[in-house]
């Protein structure tokens, strides 16, 4: 029965919309018709801006007057690997200043890869009376002074998460700035802080916050004090320990084991810096209930590691160093049938020779034993097409597959062939694959497979691969859902980029560094596509001082309705029609 949208009571639609929280669904709702657009925008509470330069804060504020939660991302992903020079951008202050005026009732701010000043933190602390959650993921530019302002002023703070951020001159005193009357904290992640925190302030804070469920400590919290903290917070669900490096003292051990036994709700463990293996049994009481274990900072090896992991039969997520080796991954495959996510990091990434026995066989074992596997990040030093084909067939639920063979352009070590067929099997079998990172020796062929099969792929990372522009063309023309593409050290040049210029407007961003895109092509792209910002990053100096066909060092292209940005440093040039 047809019903005009306008005859549907607004309040009813709003009520229905209150159950629709996913950004994609909300966006779809807003496109139905004008009245739905209006109703939707007035009741949207959360916004996710994947690229802070894609839109100006005033535009967000104008469209969504009632936001309670804002999430922003700044620098491109390759900034994590030092490929984006310091000073490139991603300063959050203009956003914070605008949000402070527009949304006095804002409750959550989540930032990733942004430059956050102490001033920004002070504005946050003082502008939002009901502020609840601050997440600073891989951010930088602030010190404990900014944190002190947040602690002192945010009376209703529930979450403070500094994961992977770089904090200047950390001093532990800022924790004492939480007033004694402050009891609302539910989540605290300070694992990235370098210096000691005031333990007594931490202990009092933990003791007076009955809702505290997540506590990720930094390495400076000593082992013998951990038990006290745990006894003060037996309701903890997620814990990151401090450093574990003291030599084994029986009384400390039994105190710790007792404290862990009291934590019946514990589901996630991390930390374990410099762990002395003798202390590991202290956590055995909680292992059977653990769903997430992060040992990437722990140098546990061999039997100790296998014993620990084998106790965690409910494990869904494991992050571990390659000390686990193939043999440990076999044990994992045998014990942890609910495993959905595995990340294996290199313990000695720059060593010339392998220091551990971790090969393709480990990943094959896990794919065979863990049918629910859906997310993999695996650093290793050798791979074969046969192994990849096996892995592809074993894990139909895979949505995120990132393989890093440490040696660039390493072939199948048995056949010496490129790994095209192996990755081809990966994309052909993983029908729901959303994220893929390639490595090893790869020709244009692999990109043909990706363009043909990876129809749901949203993010692709490529390094040292391909032969020609055809490779890039396959990806840009074939991957319908492609959102983020990041490429380094590949022989991709002007032709594929210019031929697929329109595609770039359907993606969030494209990064290309150490490739063969000429300055001329960048200018052309910038002129042809006004809704793209084409940024040339070149630390050798102005690109127009070199021949036009000279390749640029780095290129970052992103769609935007904000026009070119004005906060570019001296080594970034924007290729807009007028400014070139």
């Amino acid at each position: 029965m047809l019903r005009k949208a306008s005859s549907f009571p607004e309040e009813m639609l709003e009520h229905v919309l209150s159950f629709i929280t996913s950004d994609k669904d909300r966006n779809a709702v807003s496109l139905v018709c004008k009245s739905w657009y209006e109703i939707e925008r007035w009741c949207r509470k959360r916004i996710f801006v994947g690229n802070c330069y894609a839109v100006r804060p005033e535009m967000v504020i104008r469209r969504f007057p009632e936001l309670r939660s804002v999430e922003l991302k700044g620098k491109p992903h390759f900034a994590d690997f030092d490929l984006v020079p310091d000073g490139w951008g991603g300063c959050v202050y203009p956003w914070i200043a605008a949000l402070a005026t527009a949304y006095p009732l804002l409750e959550e701010i989540k930032l990733k890869r942004m430059v956050v000043s102490d001033e920004s933190l002070e504005v946050i602390a003082k502008s939002f009376k009901n502020f609840k959650v601050l997440v600073l993921s891989s951010c930088e530019g602030f010190s404990t002074d900014g944190l002190a302002a947040v602690a002192a002023n945010c009376r209703n703070l529930r979450g403070l998460d500094l994961r992977e951020s770089e904090v200047d001159d950390p001093s532990g005193q800022w924790l004492s700035r939480f007033p004694d009357s402050f009891t609302s904290l539910a989540s605290l992640n300070i694992s990235c802080l370098g210096a000691e925190v005031s333990f007594s302030a931490l202990e009092r804070l933990v003791g007076r916050c009955p809702d505290l469920k997540t506590l990720r400590l930094n390495h400076a919290v000593p082992l013998d004090k951990l038990a006290n903290l745990l006894r003060g917070a037996p309701q903890l669900v997620e814990l990151g320990t401090g450093a574990y490096s003291a030599e084994l003292q029986p009384d400390v051990f039994s105190n710790l084991a007792g404290a862990f036994s009291g934590c019946k709700e514990l589901r996630s463990l991390s930390g374990f810096w410099n762990v002395f293996p003798g202390y590991l049994p202290a956590v055995y009481p909680v292992c059977s209930g653990l769903t997430s274990l992060n040992l990437r900072d722990a140098n546990i090896q061999g039997a100790d590691l296998i014993k620990l992991v084998s106790q965690c039969r409910s494990l869904q997520r494991l992050w571990v160093l390659d000390y686990i080796e193939d043999i440990g991954l076999e044990a994992l495959a045998a014990c942890c049938k609910d495993l959905t996510e595995l990340r294996v990091f290199p313990s000695d990434p720059y060593g010339a020779e392998p220091n551990v026995s971790l090969t393709e066989r480990g990943l094959v074992s896990v794919s065979e034993g863990c049918p629910k596997l859906q997310s993999v990040l695996y650093f290793c030093r050798q791979m074969t097409n046969a192994a990849l084909v096996t892995i592809a067939k074993n894990s139909p639920r895979m949505t995120c597959f990132r393989l890093c063979i440490i040696e660039p352009r390493a072939p199948d070590y048995q056949t010496l062939q490129p790994l095209d067929l192996g990755f081809g099997a990966i994309v052909e079998n993983y029908k729901d694959l959303r994220r893929l990172s390639l490595s090893g020796l790869l020709t244009d062929r692999v990109f043909e497979y990706i363009g043909t099969y990876a129809k749901k792929l949203e993010m692709l990372s490529v390094a040292f691969a391909g032969d020609s522009d055809l490779g890039l063309h396959h990806v840009l023309s074939g991957c319908e859902k492609l959102c983020k593409l990041e490429i380094r050290d590949c022989p991709f040049g002007d032709n594929a980029l210019l031929a697929n210029a329109a595609k770039l407007e359907t993606m969030r961003s494209l990064w290309m560094s150490s490739c063969s895109v000429s300055f001329r092509a960048c200018k052309l792209l910038g002129q042809k596509m006004p809704r793209l910002n084409v940024e040339v990053i070149d630390e050798r100096g102005p690109p127009d001082l070199r021949p036009e066909n000279c390749p640029v060092e780095k290129l970052y292209i992103y769609r935007t309705i904000a026009g070119p940005r004005f906060d570019m440093p001296g080594f970034v040039w924007t290729m807009n029609g007028d400014s070139v």
Binding site: F78, D82, E164, P346, P349
Partner: protein, 196 residues
């Protein structure tokens, strides 16, 4: 240093070679089995970037002591830079062996010197060494007045490119941010000492 020499040779070859890619980087387009070619090796400046919290960059020193000196590629393998610090404990010995040489210039001196900062335990030792090397007196540091009483002042360039007075920051922080030293004399030195 061995690793450094290999780098020099590779760079010269690359300059004269015809290939796709940027001058100065080693990214070559080669098919077939090939060892990692010499891509950019982190320059001394970028060494500081890699170490968060003021710790020396473990990867740089690793290379200089690895059995087969392999030139390092910036940002490869793709692991987070601050993560390198968590691998520190094992690398401590390697770093100590490698040393941390910085250039020292003095106004009026015909050539520069180089010193290894890691052999000194703190500022007093460093200052005595500088005094010996250049046959001059620098004197005692005070927070308020710098190096009052001396016509020389030791300064250093930090990773931001700014020239700072030696002695203001904790020794560890100085070690991680000092790129080069310069001993200034005369009126410039007095200006620094006046707590400006």
């Amino acid at each position: 240093m061995e690793g450094g020499v290999a780098y020099e040779n590779d760079l010269n070859l690359k300059e004269t070679e015809l290939r796709l890619g940027l001058p100065g980087t080693g990214s070559t387009i080669e098919k077939g089995v090939s060892a990692a070619r010499n891509n950019k090796r982190p320059l001394p400046e970028t060494r500081e970037e890699g170490g968060a919290n003021g710790k020396p960059d473990a990867q740089h020193d690793d290379q200089e002591n690895a059995p087969a000196p392999k030139a390092q590629i910036v940002g490869w393998p793709p692991i987070r830079s601050y993560r390198k610090n968590s691998l520190q404990p094992k690398k401590a010995e390697a770093e100590a062996a490698a040393g941390m040489y910085v250039k020292v210039s003095m106004d009026g001196a015909p050539y520069l010197r180089k010193i290894d900062l890691t052999v000194y335990k703190g500022y007093p030792e460093l200052l005595r060494a500088l005094e010996n090397m250049f046959k001059l007196t620098i004197g005692e540091y005070s927070e308020r007045e710098g190096y009052k009483g001396s016509e020389y002042a030791p300064t250093y360039e930090d990773k931001d490119g700014d020239w700072m007075l030696v002695g203001d920051v904790p020794w560890e922080m100085f070690l991680s941010s000092c790129k080069k030293l310069r001993i200034i004399k005369g009126s410039e030195a007095i200006g620094l000492g006046c707590g400006a």
